[in-house]
Each structure stands twice: as structure tokens, then as C-alpha cells.
Amino acid sequence: MEEKLSSVAKTFTPSPIQELSHLAQRCNAINLAEGFPDFPAPPCIKQAAVSAINNDFNQYRHVQGICDQLALKMNKMHGLNIDPLTDIAICCGQTEAFAAAVFSIIDKGDEVLLFDPCYETYEGCIAMAGGIPVYVPLDPPRWTLDPEKLMSSFTSRTKAVVLNSPHNPTGKVFSREELEVIAECCRRWDCVAITDEVYEYITFDDQKHETIASLPGMQERTIITSSLSKTFSITGWRIGWAIAPASAASAIRNIHVKITDSAPAPFQEAALTALSSPTKYFEMLRIEYQLKRDFCMKLLNSVGFRIQFKPQGSFFLFAELPKDCLLSDVEYVKELIRQAGVVVVPGRGFFHGKSGSDQPSDESFRHQKRYIRVAFCKTEARLCAAAQKFGELMNARGSPKLYC
């Protein structure tokens, strides 16, 4: 009865990240693949959830206070004026906010621009809504945006651009100049920007996260999506949101109601506590993740990597395999699991093949099989254990023995 699958479902394949996690589990490997913390959520936020359950906040609800706090935050961080009554939809995680946003504005045949490499889920959403994903490659090794490539990707059918910054998998934070290039295109082509800003509070080295919505002419054509998950280490609670002009926010809210009806009630209550965390919490978050980033870079450098792009945000490091390593990304990852008991993600799953109107040779796309993504949202203990495992890879001559 395979013919019973919708044509869209048939094109989907299982998540390579999840499959590797299963292999890693079987080998009892140290998991630096999946993007969620292995350290506990902040105690006061957990306590808030516990209280909510005890105080009977367990039926369908919409906690308006979340919208009020988000509006304040958006104003403080970005200078945006958001109406908490009309401009915000609370959803089951950023995933649902994004899905609802896509369904709210994408009609069949609409093109949606995505920057490559990118998180694997966006494409599926767009396809489900009948949209056509179009990839604009970012240029290695620093993942810079080439304005020519972007501009030549717009057509009369382009409806939206998806912008994930800070960026998974590369850790790039789009610069103001790049945001302005994207904004100019959106204005000129009358397109919508749909953002994924889940790593908004995880930036490094004085790098600040800016939302494209704060640029001239952009608030009225931007849908911001984000969530509590990464900021507060509660990826399993499913509390996210979309912030958009009232008509879009209303459509998103209505769609969300048809998809899931409401986000988990006790966690909405706990969100109030989370969102009112003191400034110090966010500072510590950055500092701690930056330390982990630096540790990871050192770790990889010690086993032959030469990291050309230092992550500016998110908790991912996207590292090119050493020049003298002849393995592909997948081969390297498998060997790493088997020989070192550490699992990371092969980068190819984030790339989407040839794009644009050029006829590129295979040469220029070879890099797509030469990257690994390392997640450093792990405890110091785990990262040290990983470092030790990597260290064991070195043979007597001090060369990594994984691939000689």
C-alpha cells in the first residue's frame, strides 16, 4: 500500500541525524551530534513547571503573559514595537511556529529561498505546503553571502526567504551588511522573510544577534520564529512562538490551533519565569557556551583539523576535514564512532546539491562531503571525555591514526 503515501511523504527520508544517534547509542558513543544539552535545565524554571502542574494549570490555555514579555524583550533587544495582543502566536516549539508560518503564506508553486547549508526541516515544511525550495549557497570557508547569488535566485514566484541566524550548522551570525542585502531584495521583490532565531541568545566574542525585522521596511514583511528550547535548555518542553504583523500572526495562530490547538499548558506558565530571567542568566549562557566552543576548537585542532571559521553563535562547530584526510564525511563519522566512540554529524545532510543557474562542476560541490558538525552543548565532563577519546586516536608519531 505504498501508493497510499502522499507524493510529498514519499520523497522524505529518515533523519540522518537521528539514525546516527541510534548507532551511537548502540556503540555507547559520546554524543556530540544531536543539538540538545546533556546538562539540566535551570532549577527555577523546572520549579515553575512543577508548580504549574500542582496548581492545576493543566487544561487548554493561552498564556497572554508570554506575549507581553516577548514584546518587551523585542523592544529592548531590537527596538521593535510589537503589539502583544495581535502580533504573537504561541506554538509547540519553533518547529510548529515555522510550519504554521509557512502554511500561512505559502501557496502551491510559491518559491522559497533558503541559504545552503541549512537545517534539514525547513524544506520538508515548505514542500508540505506546496512551496518550492530554492537554495542560495553560502560560500565556504567563511560562509559568506554573495549578493549576486542571492539576487539571481529571485523570480516572480519567490514568496519568502528563510533566514536562520545564528546559523545551524555553521555557527555563522549574519552581519548587518548581509542582513541589508537580504532586506533590500525582500523589499524590491516584495517578499517575506521567515526567520529562525532559536540561537538568538547564544553569540560569542561581542557578536550581537540582530533580527532582520529591525531593518527599515522589514518589520511589516518579517515573521520571526523562536523558542525557549536552546536559551533555557528545555528542548523537550515545546514552547515557541511566531512574531509577525497582525494579519500574519492571526493566520499563524489560527493554523496552529488546527495543528495542535495549544502549546503544553504547564510549560507556558513556566515560560513566564524563564522569560523574566535576569540579564545575568543570559550573560552566563554566552560565557559558558563560548568556553565550550573554544574547548571544542582546541580539541579538533589537536587532531589535525584547521578550523577556518570560528563559530560566532549557536552551539555548533562546522569543521572541514583535514586536507590529508581522504575519507568522506560519512566515512569519517563512522570511523570516529567505531574507533573513538564519539559521534558527530556528517555535513552532507545540510547541503542541498547544485543550485542557482550556473552549471557547476562536481569540483565546486565536493566540499559538501567534507564537513562534520560538532555540537558543544554538552557538559564539561562530556567534552573532556570526548577530548580524551580523540587523544587516543593519535599514534606514536603524533598523527591522528583514524585515517592513515
Partner: protein, 409 residues
Amino acid sequence: MSTASTQRDTVSTHDGTLQITQQPVQVAKRLEKFKTTIFTQMSMLAIKHGAINLGQGFPNFDGPDFVKEAAIQAIKDGKNQYARGYGVPDFNNALAARFKKDTGLVIDPEKEVTVTSGCTEAIAATMLGLINPGDEVILFAPFYDSYEATLSMAGAKIKCITLRPPDFAVPIDELKSAILKNTRAILINTPHNPTGKMFTSEELNTIASLCIENDVLVFMDEVYDKLAFEMDHISMASLPGMYERTVTMNSLGKTFSLTGWKIGWAIAPPHLTWGVRQAHSFLTFATSTPMQWAATVALRAPDSYFEELKRDYMAKKAILVQGLKDVGFKVFPSSGTYFVVVDHTPFGLENDIAFCEYLIKEVGVVAIPTSVFYLNPEDGKNLVRFTFCKDEETLRSAVERMKEKLKKK
């Protein structure tokens, strides 16, 4: 901060100044007709007028302590990160065990169970994962309002069969001419919201044989299966030849009075589960982790829990149904769910929406107008829905208010 826009409409106002309006983000065409739900509208009106809410179907009492404690323990134990996309393994196992207990069917929890954010998401994932644009899907009206919306998102063609009072029986002849070779799927909700009807063995078997004959999928929404009062609930999947073409959907919310936790699931053979899981992974990716752990505990509740649940609800139902009859409504028999549908026309209001507005403003009680549950609203204009998932005192107060202020014309 200036918000200069290149996208402008300039309009001359009456005093001669130019007013710049900004083009709003355009909303997709297929969804323009889906507005705020009737439930939200009525709830807001209810608060404004201090009305007793017998409209929206969530309890005003809370879930059992042993389930809440399990969630609390899970949070404290650090189960706060992403669950496996299609469900925490222990929970999938518990679901398979429960399904076996309820239907006798043995299923593979790894390949045939998908956990979703409520049954609402199970429905959305099933539609989006298994329905192609242009596919024909049969619905029974009146229907829960998310069905039409998600079918529309999937681009389906909806064919509607209307269930009519007094017993809302399935019109068999109409059914036979509706289910054809090009029918992709039929969606059935039993026990049925809003009427409380339970599909009989005869009805389900007739539908089953038509589905087998025409190779049609069946999507079953069985969220009220534990609130079956007047007869036993029958799962379509348990009928001969049906498991391989059925998606059975359910949730924790109604059975355990925790409607805000959003724990639901879809059970289906592997070749159908595949599509459901794909769509689910793009809709919400994963379901709330601590609540899944708690749900595992909940599903292992002893039989006494479910027996007490039924007893409590039957007592509540008795209060409401008798009260509504005394007030002068024509009350239709409801075999299951915590809803009952009544004919409001003795009170002389023009239609169901007018009646519900009157009921809120002048009487102080909320009901839901059923016209929103029909493709053709005219079909529902004589009917409104009350819920009895409220504590007994609330039900009695509501009945008192109606006795006092609602007069037959």
C-alpha cells in the same frame, strides 16, 4: 527608528494630508476563511458576561494526582530534552500494551505508534502525510472543526455525509453511493463530537466492507473511547481486514482531564505510519518529554480508574440532561463523549448563533452553536452543544440559571 517602506499605498485623507498605509503580509489563499475558532469567541464572550461555560470541551477539574506527580518527577529527573521524534520508547510500549488490551490487536510499538502533540496533531499529520491534493475524503457532519481545516491544508476534496437527529444514524444508502473507487479516505469520529453518537457495530461493518471493496483508508478519531456510556466502543482497526488500512488516533487529554498537556498518538500499520511520521516531524518534530513519561504511568492505570471516570461522568450527564429537559430543550440521546446536543427552537431564536449569544448575555450560560461543525451551516442552525465535563455544582448552577431565565416562546 524609521520604517520607510518601498511598498506603499498613499491615500489622500479628507484634510488633504497624505496617509501612508503599509501592505500587510499576504495570507495564503486556502486559509483565508479560517478565522478564530468559535470556541475562543464564545469563551471570550463568556468571560465578558460572567457566564457559566458549558461550551468549550475542557474540564474545570483537574487530572489525577498520580499522573501529575509522574510529570513532576520526570521534570525533576531531568527528562526535559527532545524525546525521540515518534515517541519515548517506554511510552510507545505502553501505548501498544493498552491498544492490545482495548482491541486485542498486537502491534509493534517501534513501527506502528507515533506520538503527537494531542490528537489534533495526529489528525493534521495523518492528513498531510497521507492525503494528496485533489484526493477525495469523506467526512461525517457535524464534525470537529480541525478536520475541514487540515483537509484543506492537504488540498483534499471533501465529500460530506450529514448525520441527522434524532439518532444521527449513518444514512446507509447515501454512504454506499459516496464511497467509491476514487475515494481516498473516510474520517470517522466515534464516540462522536458534538452529538455523542457512537457508531454501531452494524454501521462500522458496513463502512468496513465498502472500504475494503473500494480500497479506502479509514482515519479514526477515538479520543472519547473511554467515555462510552450506553454501549461498548468498537475500534474500526479491530474489524476483519481493517487494521491494514486504518489510522487510529487518540489522546490523553479527555481520559485523564489534562487537555493542556497535548499528548496524543496515531496507531497504524508501518506503511501508513511512515507518512504520519514524516508530516509529524515537520509539524512539531517531537512531543513534550516529561508529559510522555507521565502518560506512560497514566496508561497503566488500573481498571478502577476508568470505571470511576465513567461513573462520575454518567452522574454529571444525568444532572445536565435532566436539567435541559426540565428547561424545555429537545434533548437528543448521547451515548458517549461528554457532550449532548439539543434543539433550541422552542425558545424562539432565529438560529444557533443567535441562541448562543442570547444564552450568554441574558441567561449567563455558554453553549456552542453547532452550525460551525457543518459544511453547510444551515444544517446545524437548530442545534447547540452543551458539555458536562464540569463539576456537579457548576452543572447545577447552569441548569438553575436556565430554568430561571430561559422561557419558551
